[in-house]
């Protein structure tokens, strides 16, 4: 079941678009937020009913984007490190290894205390400030090992 709050957010999003199905990404984001970071089958079924779409269309939209985590619960802080060309050239791979070591998890895993999930993504459109990563909704740019350590320390 979608939370009342998520439903209200979807209602609000609907008003922004000429037709209902256009609100699918907003709806998925609200549903993901309501569930604490990931989406489940029931959410998509419910969104499909609200937006008058087929469930599989909602699923396809969600599966296309890395920002939706289908059936994959994430920690309170979801770190997404860009490993596209600019970031890689400026040391993203090195940073990823460093974070894996520090957090003692592999890419794609969550710390046992459900605090942090580490994953990698394709370009997030911030090549000018590479290397960079996104934690939940925020960008962290021009990263260095020291800066990463400081950020990780700040994640409660």
């Amino acid at each position: 079941m979608l939370s009342e709050e998520a439903k209200k957010e979807i209602e609000k999003a609907l008003r922004k678009y000429p037709n209902k199905r256009s609100a699918v990404m907003d709806a998925l984001r609200s549903a993901q937020k309501a569930r604490g970071g990931h989406l489940e089958k029931a959410d998509m079924d419910e969104i499909a009913v609200i937006l008058e779409m087929q469930s599989v269309e909602v699923n396809a939209a969600a599966a296309f984007y890395t920002m939706y985590n289908i059936d994959k619960p994430v920690g309170r802080h979801h770190i997404q490190v860009c490993r596209n060309i600019s970031c890689s050239l400026l040391g993203a791979e090195h940073l990823i290894k460093h974070m894996e070591r520090t957090l003692n998890i592999k890419t794609g895993e969550t710390t046992p205390d459900k605090r942090i999930t580490l994953s990698t993504v394709e370009c997030l459109g911030s090549c000018g400030t590479a290397p960079m990563m996104q934690i939940n909704d925020d960008f962290h740019e021009n990263l260095t090992e020291a800066k990463v350590d400081e950020i990780l320390k700040g994640l409660k």
Partner: protein
Amino acid sequence: MVTVKINGKEITVEDNTLILDAARHAGYEIPTFCYQADLVGIGSCRMCLVEIEGQRKLQPSCVTPVLHGMAINTETPTVMSARASMLEFLLANHALDCPVCDKGGECELQDMVYKYGPHKGRHAEPKFKFQEKDYALSPVIIKNSNRCVQCLKCVRVCREVVGANVLGALGRGDHQEETSFFRHFLDCDQDGNCIEVCPVGCFMRLPYRYKTRPWDLKGADTICQWCATGCRMVIEERDGVLIRSKAQFGVGLNSETLCARGRFGNDSMTRAERLKTPLVRRFGKLEPASWQEALAVIKDNVPSDGERIGGIASPRLTNEELYLFQKLFRNVFGSANIDSSARWDPDAVEAFIKAASMDAGGVSVFDCMESETVIVIGSQVSDENPVTDYIIRRISAGRRMNLVIASPRAMKLDSSANLKIRHTAGKAGALLESVILSFNSARVAGTGGLEDMASGRLASVTSEAGVDGEAVESLARKLKSSGSVAIMAGTDFLRFPEGIAKLGLLKDLLKSSGKKVSVLPLLDRANQRGAWEMGVHPSLGPAYARAKQKGLGTDEMLEAVSKGALDFLYIAGSDVASMYPDEGVATAALGRARFLVVQDTFMTDTAKFAHVVLPGAAFGEKEGTFTNQEGRAQAIRRLMHPPGKAKPDLDIIRAIGERFDPSFGPKNFVLALDEIRSGNRMYSNVSLAFNNKKNSDNRLDSKEALVQGAGASDLEAKEFAQKPSAESAEYPFRLITGNHLFHSGKGTMRSETLSGLLKAAVVEISEEDAASLGLKNGDRVRVKSKDYAAVVTLRTARGSKNAHAFLAENFEDCPVNRFLRRGEGPPMVSITRA
């Protein structure tokens, strides 16, 4: 017109032609995976890349239209190496398990790699796998995503053509998988069009799995037997077993589409229970006999008085068989008592033929779809004629037009309609009258009394039809503003003949208002139109010419048999006991028949009453022609021989005739067709030559197959009174019937695959009604009328008219004709939790 150079050859094509089509037209081959003429182009597979002089990059020819003066090269080294590279990428993750893949031997990827591909890959990385094991998506579809080439044809055909929209592309790039919601079982039409369009072994038919290799199959290019759409398909057998039926791209009006019945229903042909020998009743028991014996017994029992003889032939026999059948009755037996339907009143049929102008010759569905307004009325087209539904959906999406659907039940095609009207079942006449009055309202405006009369009548018929005035007005407005109108009128007009007169009236009114009007009958039996045009009708001879003498129809024949006024009844292929709309009346009459001959492929409920049973041939075991609902005469082909001593029906009818007149003929189907051509004006141009022709350029509409007009006609349209239904609070639902999506008559119940999809009866009511009764989809419910009650499974439909229950006429465990009563309107039933 645009002139372009392709590989140095100058050609002129129409504006906006795609480079791909232009090149193919000029005789150059361009390989594709994702291109399909009837789907919206997406240019995703990059196999069709071509070089355009003056452009630095290669361009996808399947989405690039030609421009004047373009110089296009399709076979340069750059193009060839691009093709090879694309194939190398596709093979990078492709499973390459050809030896165990069902598609092996007819795989487009295999063919293309053989022709264009690098014969050695350079990818050393481990292959990405979606899953280790194939998984079933439905009872008929099995999936192996590791072989996918991401052409998205399955997703597009599901959305754009079938309208089910249950497949999606999940993920992206080479990890994109075309599948169902969470890979769950599909709740869809099960028509397997996704299998058909799949170029590789990703979507596969479950019934075909591991059975054979395509090169071991023997095929015949024929016409489907399960409805009157007239889809062309290839049926294939191995070792005497029908293995599969498939459509062919760019061939027939259906191109690469079929419905579940067409694709999976033909396995009934090679069931072991087929009748293999004639049976003669001896001491109350049907026992095997030789043809000689059976024919001798028939000869001995045919009365000399033609009036005491009756015949009912199935609208699934071929034109030649039906022609010979009526010839046998009219010329040899001297009987006018023949009919081709167990369900329809012959007078209603005549009125319908007149209202739909069927005597004016064939009408192409593609021409109808060119109209500005198309009205579908009296037909559950998505269930009854699924491929007609595909054609309507595909064409209506591509052009600006009005699609109006009038039906008590919601249907899949609703999503393509601009206007949906939900009228009370059997009230299509009232609905059409209200549309006519509304259309004409301007003419009586300001006339005082006349206007009051018209508006009073309008209010009363609108409420009788159970629709709101706004919908009627909206339809009338659409008609007024359209220069051309097509009306697709279905079999509900024959179930409720009181609406036929209004259908004819609307047609005449629109014509007299200067509009181009075409009427397309939507019929549910493969050769129903052919049966009528061959003259298997008590008052109409071949080409709708009035017969010299008016005979009895099915209903009157059954009554005459009951009263002892008819001694000899010959039923060819028709299951009267289970299809006549009152089982009690039919079985009582058949039980009382003095002599009953039944010719069929299976031991039907009707055959159980017979004195002689003759084993006939299934549609894949004989040659002949079918005339579809549009009036296209198309050839069916023999693939196998009938089992045991069974014979093609033409030979059986002829053998019976020869017992009375040794010169009775024609002797075979070619001669019979010749005789039809020379005697029946509508069929004078029918030839088998065009039936053999492959369509080029994806032109699906072969107009030369359409039958001609019959010339001056004297068809009569009787007025029909509405039959009463006893309405009461105890039985709130009006029970309506028709064919289920997976079934056609009782024949498809013999198909293992289709009865696997749905065998037990289901009753459908609207979601709202279900909610108010506290019922939900899948519940077991008791359907009860004043005469009969049965427990079946409930299906709910969103958007259907309330207080209507739909029970298909196909089920063995809950025959709808136990609810129906002769002389009564639709039965009223109650639905309660079982």
